[in-house]
């Protein structure tokens, strides 16, 4: 069955929250709750209560980036220092740990930051083409609920959204 997209705009977060609760409870055939997206001009911490746990994975990128950065830093420096045919050390340690810690720390941070940003882009799906159902009002002061559902479910979903004082509903045929 063909799927369609709906974008409903709300004046405030409370109305949008109530609509989402009802959509979750309604168990509408042809509509998967995971296909619901909330769009807002600010970050709402409460959104997790409303949408259920949808975890972020950026921290795993951070962990890998920081560890790889630190290890890379340490082994690159040590590799250069261990070139003792060229650099005569005169009894001093070939790979001195205390001073190497400083550069290792810097590389640890560098790797952590760069890979976190990469992780952010991957996890947030950026860069992305703007979806056809985007309203500039969402970046101003309105809350949007974007829903993807079977054509048969659209009327019911629309009913729920209008029930909760949706200001405007945009509709477009999905793929």
């Amino acid at each position: 069955m063909s799927q369609r997209h709906l974008l409903a705009l709300f004046n405030n977060f409370e109305d949008a929250e109530a609509a989402i609760y009802e959509l979750r409870a309604a168990d509408i055939k042809g509509f998967d709750f995971d296909d619901l997206t909330l769009k807002s001009p600010i970050e709402h911490h409460e959104v997790e209560d409303v949408l259920g746990q949808r975890s972020a994975k950026v921290q795993w990128f951070t962990l890998v980036g920081a560890l790889l950065g630190g290890l890379l830093g340490f082994f690159l420096i040590s590799g250069a220092q261990a070139n003792f045919y060229a650099q005569i050390k005169g009894g001093k340690p070939i790979v001195p740990f205390p001073p190497n810690f400083v550069l290792t720390f810097e590389m640890f941070v560098l790797g952590g930051v760069f890979i976190s940003v990469l992780g952010f882009l991957v996890c947030a799906g950026l860069p992305a083409k703007r979806s056809p159902l985007y309203s500039a009002k969402v970046s101003e002061d309105q809350i949007g609920i974007l829903v993807k559902a079977d054509e048969s479910a659209i009327a019911k979903i629309k009913g729920v959204l209008l029930n909760h004082e949706a200001l405007e509903i945009q509709e477009e045929a999905g793929k």
């Binding site: 600010i42 970050e43 070139n83 060229a86 001073p99 976190s116 083409k129 101003e140």
Partner: protein, 454 residues
């Protein structure tokens, strides 16, 4: 006095900030013109030095660093402003930072860019800068990885690149607002490109929050490490007056101090130039002023610790440097540093002064002068009064070329900063909305509780 009004409409926040990108007050153009002129002077001096040689800077043995490295440390210190406001205060949930952290982050980025220039300028032979980079060459020789100077280069690179990313990532939601509200033209194209297709979905916000917090966690210790490493450039040497254990915390305190006073100066300028009176409120200014006062007292204490430890160490060479500072050629500047850094901030203890904008503007400029003098007074006296008596008659006065370059650096920084504020939103719109939203929620809750009690 409130940090921000709870009833500001979100649409108005967008309008006010977007207006700042188009219609600043005339003073903006005056500042930009002056900055360009100052930058031109700096460029002229650098070209002359490049063609003629480092001798024109009046730098010679034993006086090797001069104003270039003093000003380098000053700008590195200034960069701590953004990290303090964006990262450290973010981790401490101080939401009053929200309307002002964006420009502080920009300060961080541009002051690091300015500092980096001085490292190259003081080499003299710019074309040999690549010697300091760790690259595999046929000679099999690497830079000395145990040298704080190499740590410095790495730390600054890490700090600069991380700060740019932090500034950019934090700006993405605002860039999307700009994209949605600008008319067709170069601005719209730029914002469309940089906003990466941000739509404010829950998935984007969720990952955004974690990323921003993560980078803040990395930046806080990084900022401390950067200035500790700069301090190690001095403290790890054997030179009298520099070989002091308390240098790293002293440098970090000095950095936060100059960063905070820089924020006060730019806060006042931006508030007027971009008509941000509703967002950069006096209440927020008061909080920064109090923070600056606290840091100034820490800095004063650390100064006293340094003098006392030198005095009681009974190391004659270090003691001589201290006496030289207080009574020798550089005495007026050293006492000027004490006056500007420790006496002038006492003004900030008075409640009336904490919101008096002309007084604060003057005080913040004096504090910055004090902080600049501090860096000069770390460098100059040691070079002119080292271990060997032959160094003692080398009180070298910086040449006009050096002064010109220092002057030019302020022009370069101001130019970058003012252009940034005209192209990108210098007040974070989404964070101000969050602040307004949470405060209005809090107000509603307390009103409901009050009604319940009645």
């Amino acid at each position: 006095m409130k940090d921000i009004r709870e009833d500001i409409a979100w649409a108005k926040i967008n309008q006010d900030v977007l207006k700042s990108l188009e219609n600043p007050r005339k003073l903006y153009w005056v500042i930009l013109f002056c900055a360009l002129a100052a930058f031109g002077v700096g460029i002229g001096c650098e070209v002359y030095q490049y063609q003629t040689g480092l001798g024109v800077a009046n730098l010679n043995n034993p006086y090797a660093w001069g104003l270039y490295i003093s000003t380098f440390i000053f700008w590195i210190g200034m960069s701590h402003s953004g990290t303090l406001l964006s990262a450290i205060l973010h981790l401490m949930h101080a939401d009053w930072r929200k309307p002002i952290y964006r420009f502080a982050e920009a300060m961080t980025t541009f002051s690091l860019m300015t500092a980096g220039l001085f490292v190259m300028v003081h080499i003299g032979r710019l074309w040999q800068f690549y010697y300091s980079l760790p690259y595999p060459s046929e000679r099999g020789i690497w830079p000395n990885f145990q040298s704080p100077l190499l740590w410095d280069a790495m730390a600054i690179f890490t700090y600069l690149s991380s700060s740019i990313l932090f500034l950019y990532v934090g700006m993405i939601p605002d860039l999307a607002i700009c994209r949605d509200n600008m008319h067709e033209g170069w601005r719209k194209k730029l914002y469309t490109l940089l906003s990466l297709g941000w739509e404010g979905t829950d998935r984007q916000w969720r990952n955004f929050r974690v990323t921003y917090l993560t980078i803040a966690c990395f930046l806080s210790p990084l900022a401390v490490s950067v200035h500790s490493i700069v301090a190690s450039d001095f403290a790890m040497s054997q030179q009298p007056g520099w070989h002091v254990t308390s240098f790293p915390p002293y440098f970090v305190a000095g950095a936060l101090y100059s960063g905070c006073s820089g924020i006060i100066t730019l806060f006042i300028i931006l508030r007027y130039v971009f008509k941000f009176e509703e967002y950069m409120t006096k209440s927020i200014l008061k909080k920064i002023v109090r923070l600056t006062f606290a840091i100034s007292m820490i800095w004063t204490y650390l100064n006293a610790v340094e003098f006392a430890s030198v005095w009681y160490s009974n190391d004659q060479a270090s003691k001589d440097i201290l006496i030289q500072k207080a009574t020798g050629t550089y005495a007026p500047f050293w006492w000027g540093m004490i006056f500007c850094g420790s006496i002038v901030p006492l003004t900030l203890a008075f409640k009336r002064a904490q919101t008096n904008i002309p007084v604060l503007f003057a005080v913040s400029l004096l504090l910055n002068l004090g902080m600049w003098l501090e860096r000069w007074m770390i460098i100059a006296p040691t070079f002119s009064h080292g271990y060997y008596p032959w160094t003692w008659d080398h009180d070298q006065w910086p040449s006009l070329i050096q002064w010109g370059m220092v002057f030019g650096s302020f022009g370069w920084f101001t130019m970058l900063f003012m252009v940034f504020c005209k192209v990108f939103p210098s007040v974070s719109m989404y964070e101000v909305k969050e602040m307004v939203y949470h405060r209005s929620l809090h107000l509603k809750k307390s009103e409901t509780a009050e009604q319940g009690a009645h």
